[in-house]
């Protein structure tokens, strides 16, 4: 899929963040065009100012890293040579891994989170290998981990990688149909933790504690401690029974979860406005519960999980789902909550009939549309003026309009209206269609009709959002590089303090004194302040990155919903 310049920049930065500059350069080259191995190697020899040549061996390695993380599309060119192309969507999905791990934690606990972390950091793993890796850092019984893994696979948060069906001139051909979520019959036997291993794990976890665990993914990459490597060597002696069944994180499932969250935000966000008394608070909770139950039924009932709206769902089904999920809500409350939701959700939940206690349809597209509208309005308000939002809303509601009609309806002076319209035109928020009264299109006899092309606006915004994200990642990497010495200093200090704690031959008082001395030496007030500022800035950049990534997802999901519709949705 071709992608824009800013999108390529963003993907390159993501690759650099995760795998370093070499993989990023190789990945960038394959983002721009489909290349054979020879093509990539030659491209890496052509260097621009300041860059180093990448030797063929490293290029191969970089490509294998990309393949391991499911980022490459392998194809054949007309001469039957294997071609490599980086998949920009897959690269951008790597940004959602922290969110995916958090979702797994929310739904199935920290063991599930650890499994997701392992899969995120390794790209793809067999079930046995994933469980083994998690056990290396967390003291959890294998049976529980296997159970969690099963749950994740059952609820489709994990998916099996497509098996290789055959090979065509050395290029793998992946199966088109395969058992996507079936667990392997047998996984490796895991003996209970021995004392020796427990000690090793303790050492491992101690080392981890020292490192600031801000980026889940980065942290899990660092966990590749040498001890783990040694152990891996030992266990490698006999192959796992499920070694050929590899799993990866099913990002599209996590994305559906995010989409459901957007629906909740759009509906419940408005209900919360009524929070003025304690009773309203309870009503808002009921509404949220009703909607969650509805989403649960929608998940089970929809024939196609990516469809734009759910089939009609009866109230009875929702009541049953609420009971199964152990929600404390009565049928009467649910009935009442739905009356409120249908009335106030601006078309996200519609009533489709009365059978079975009431039939309800949940429109995901509408929720996305409203979410996109709120982002666009917010941007216009900040970039141009709140009166520009007024003008744009009018044009969206009425379609093609002349300047004169606009300024009369929005009750603003012609000059101000024109000023705002031109500003919006520049940023692609509105478009203008010239209509010639005569066929020579002389300027004096041509009028311009303003209209809003929301998909086009969103496409422009996706580009600028990609740039924003790239800037934030660049800035974060720069910040991490600049403050490396601070982290090293902190690490050294913590190591020494641990050493003091562990030593047997000094009493408590002396330990405290020594620790204070070490702290004074390694962490004087100014260094401590710098470290605090660094950590605050880092978390701010991370938060913004995660939030903006969600907006980017909203934009993309909206575009997808618009382009898959046969007709334009009513504006």
């Amino acid at each position: 899929m071709p992608c824009g310049r800013r999108e390529v920049d963003l993907c390159t930065m993501i690759l650099e963040d995760h795998f370093g500059p070499t993989v990023a350069r190789v990945g960038q080259m394959c983002l721009r065009e489909k290349l054979t191995l020879g093509g990539v190697i030659v491209a890496m020899q052509r260097v621009k100012g300041g860059e180093e040549k990448i030797p063929p061996k490293k290029v191969r390695r970089a490509l294998s890293v990309l393949e391991q993380h499911n980022l490459l599309t392998i194809g054949l060119d007309s001469a039957y040579r294997a071609t490599y192309e980086t998949n920009p969507d897959a690269v951008q999905m790597m940004m959602t891994f922290p969110r995916a791990c958090l979702t797994a934690k929310k739904l199935y606990g920290s063991a599930a989170e650890a499994i997701c972390e392992e899969l995120a950091s390794k790209g793809r793993l067999s079930c046995s290998e994933a469980i083994r890796r998690v056990r290396e850092r967390l003291e959890l019984p294998a049976a529980e981990l296997k159970q969690k893994f099963c749950w994740l696979a059952e609820s489709q948060f994990l998916v099996r990688c497509p098996p290789i069906e055959s090979k065509c001139r050395g290029t793998p051909v992946y199966a088109a149909v395969w058992e996507k979520f079936a667990m392997p019959d047998e996984i490796a036997e895991m003996p209970d933790t021995t004392e020796e291993e427990a000690a090793k794990q303790a050492a491992c976890s101690m080392e981890e504690d020292i490192k600031p665990d801000i980026n889940l993914l980065k942290a899990s990459r660092k966990r590749k401690a040498p001890i783990a490597e040694v152990k891996k060597e030992e266990t490698k002696k006999k192959a796992d029974p499920d070694a050929s069944v590899l799993w990866q994180i099913n990002i599209s499932r996590f994305r559906r979860y995010v989409r459901d969250e957007i629906v909740l935000e759009q509906v419940c966000g408005r209900m919360r406005s009524n929070d003025e008394t304690g009773n309203s608070e309870k009503s808002a909770q009921n509404v949220e519960m009703a909607l969650r139950a509805l989403l649960k039924v929608a998940e089970l009932k929809s024939p196609n999980p990516d469809s734009n709206q759910t089939p009609p769902i009866t109230l009875m089904d929702v009541v049953r789902a609420a009971k199964e999920a152990e929600m404390t809500i009565t049928k009467q409350d649910l009935d009442w909550a739905f009356a409120l939701i249908v009335d106030d959700s601006r078309g996200i939940v519609r009533k489709a009939g009365d059978s079975g206690g009431g039939l309800f349809v949940l429109d995901f597209d509408k929720a996305l549309l409203l979410a996109v509208d709120s982002h666009v309005d917010s941007l216009i308000r900040e970039q141009i003026d709140s009166k520009a939002v007024r003008i744009r809303r009018l044009i969206r509601a009425r379609g093609y309009l002349e300047e004169e009609t606009i300024d009369k309806t929005v009750m603003m002076s012609a000059k101000q209206t024109r000023d705002l319209l031109y500003s919006m035109l520049e940023e692609n928020y509105v478009c203008v269609k010239p209509i010639g009264r005569t066929n020579d299109f002389a300027p004096a006899r041509t009028i311009g009709l303003y209209y809003v092309d929301q998909p086009q606006t969103v496409r422009t915004l996706i580009e600028s959002t990609c740039m924003m994200l790239r800037n934030i990642i660049v800035r974060r990497l720069q910040l991490e590089k600049d403050s490396k010495h601070l982290l090293e200093r902190q690490l050294k200090m913590v190591n020494i303090m641990n050493g003091i704690d562990a030593s047997q031959n000094i009493d408590e008082e002396e330990k405290r004194q020594q620790k204070a001395e070490v702290e004074d030496m390694y962490m004087p007030a100014d260094v401590r302040r710098d470290l605090e500022i660094f950590q605050k800035n880092l978390s701010l950049l991370h938060t913004s990155e995660i939030e903006i990534e969600k907006v980017l997802f909203t934009f993309r999901a909206y575009l997808k919903s618009v382009t898959t519709l046969r007709f334009q949705p009513p504006q």
């Binding site: 920049d9 300041g50 966000g269 408005r270 209900m271 919360r272 406005s273 009524n274 003025e276 008394t277 009773n279 309203s280 009503s283 009442w336 009356a339 409120l340 009335d343 106030d344 709120s374 982002h375 309005d377 917010s378 941007l379 308000r381 900040e382 970039q383 709140s386 939002v389 007024r390 809303r393 009018l394 509601a397 004169e404 300024d407 009369k408 309806t409 929005v410 009750m411 603003m412 002076s413 012609a414 600028s464 959002t465 740039m467 924003m468 790239r470 800037n471 934030i472 660049v474 800035r475 720069q478 605050k536 800035n537 701010l540 950049l541 913004s544 939030e547 903006i548 969600k550 907006v551």
Partner: protein
């Protein structure tokens, strides 16, 4: 013959509304042909004029002030009269009269100096329109309540907007107080129609200018576009709680509002690594 003409003039001076052409012969006690000739002569001398009333042709004395006008001026004056208080644009005058630009300009100037017509400019347009001197301008020219001196009175609009929103906010608050437990009833009770809002404003005598229901409807439309109020399908409106509107995370990052974003790239003069806007943003949080 001259006697007949004098008789006709005398008759027409009595009959202010004019006489039907067919009846001329009878009234003057002469043959229709004679009457016809007599009429033609008077028409040529611009003493009388023919007008069409309900499909019948009537002959009438020409008004005194129109008497000294040239043919072109007379044609233009008739067209302007037809335009009445809505005014007629110079381009339409040219098309309808078939006169040249120079002739029209000259004739209009004369008419203006004789205070028979006046030139006016409508709101929000530079088009010059002509209308009879004593006509009262139409709303489409003056713009209505919200315009003073052909200029939009933004302050009046803003005041009315805030008064309407304040009234609806109050209504919603009362609705919540009266029905503390029932969200549906709260919602129903917070709606008000445009008529109610208009009555409220008129009763309180907030404004010195008279205000109609339609004016309030226009103001409410603007408030709907601003996202301050929402409209039900039956036209009633209620205020939207502004506290639920959250700004997008996009605007929290300075890159969204950066004036030099287009030139920003790694390794260039403007780059995210040492961007002043990003530094200030990080420092301010």
């Amino acid at each position: 013959m001259a006697d007949k003409e004098d008789a006709m003039v005398a008759l027409l001076q009595i009959e202010v509304d004019g006489i039907e052409v067919n009846e001329l012969g009878g009234k003057l006690e002469c043959s229709p042909q004679e009457g016809q000739e007599c009429l033609n002569r008077l028409l040529a001398a611009h003493k009388v004029e023919l007008i069409q009333v309900d499909g019948a042709l009537r002959v009438k004395m020409k008004k005194e002030e129109h008497a000294g006008l040239s043919n072109e001026e007379r044609v233009l004056l008739t067209l302007v009269d037809e335009g009445s208080n809505k005014g007629i644009w110079i381009k339409n005058l040219r098309d309808n009269s078939g006169l040249s630009q120079i002739q029209i300009r000259k004739a209009l100037k004369t008419l203006e100096t004789k205070k028979l017509i006046k030139a006016v400019k409508g709101v929000g347009t530079t088009k010059k329109c002509y209308m009879p001197y004593d006509a009262v301008e139409d709303v489409s020219i003056t713009g209505g309540t919200f315009y003073s001196d052909r200029q939009l009175d933004s302050e009046l609009v803003q005041t009315l907007l805030s008064v309407c929103v304040a009234m609806l906010t109050n209504r919603r608050k009362q609705a919540v107080d009266r029905n503390p437990t029932d969200l549906l009833l709260q919602k129903q009770a917070s709606f008000a129609t445009a008529g109610e809002v208009a009555t409220f404003i008129r009763d309180r005598k907030i404004l010195h200018v008279p205000i109609s229901d339609d004016d309030i409807e226009r103001i409410l439309e603007v408030a709907v576009l601003d996202g301050l109020i929402e409209r039900r399908s039956d036209g009633a409106v209620r205020v939207i709680d502004q506290s639920i509107i959250r700004s997008s995370p996009l605007v929290s990052v300075p890159c969204a509002l950066c004036p030099v974003a287009i030139d920003c790239a790694a390794g260039k003069e403007i780059n995210p690594c040492d961007c002043k806007y990003l530094t200030d943003w990080l420092a301010s949080k």
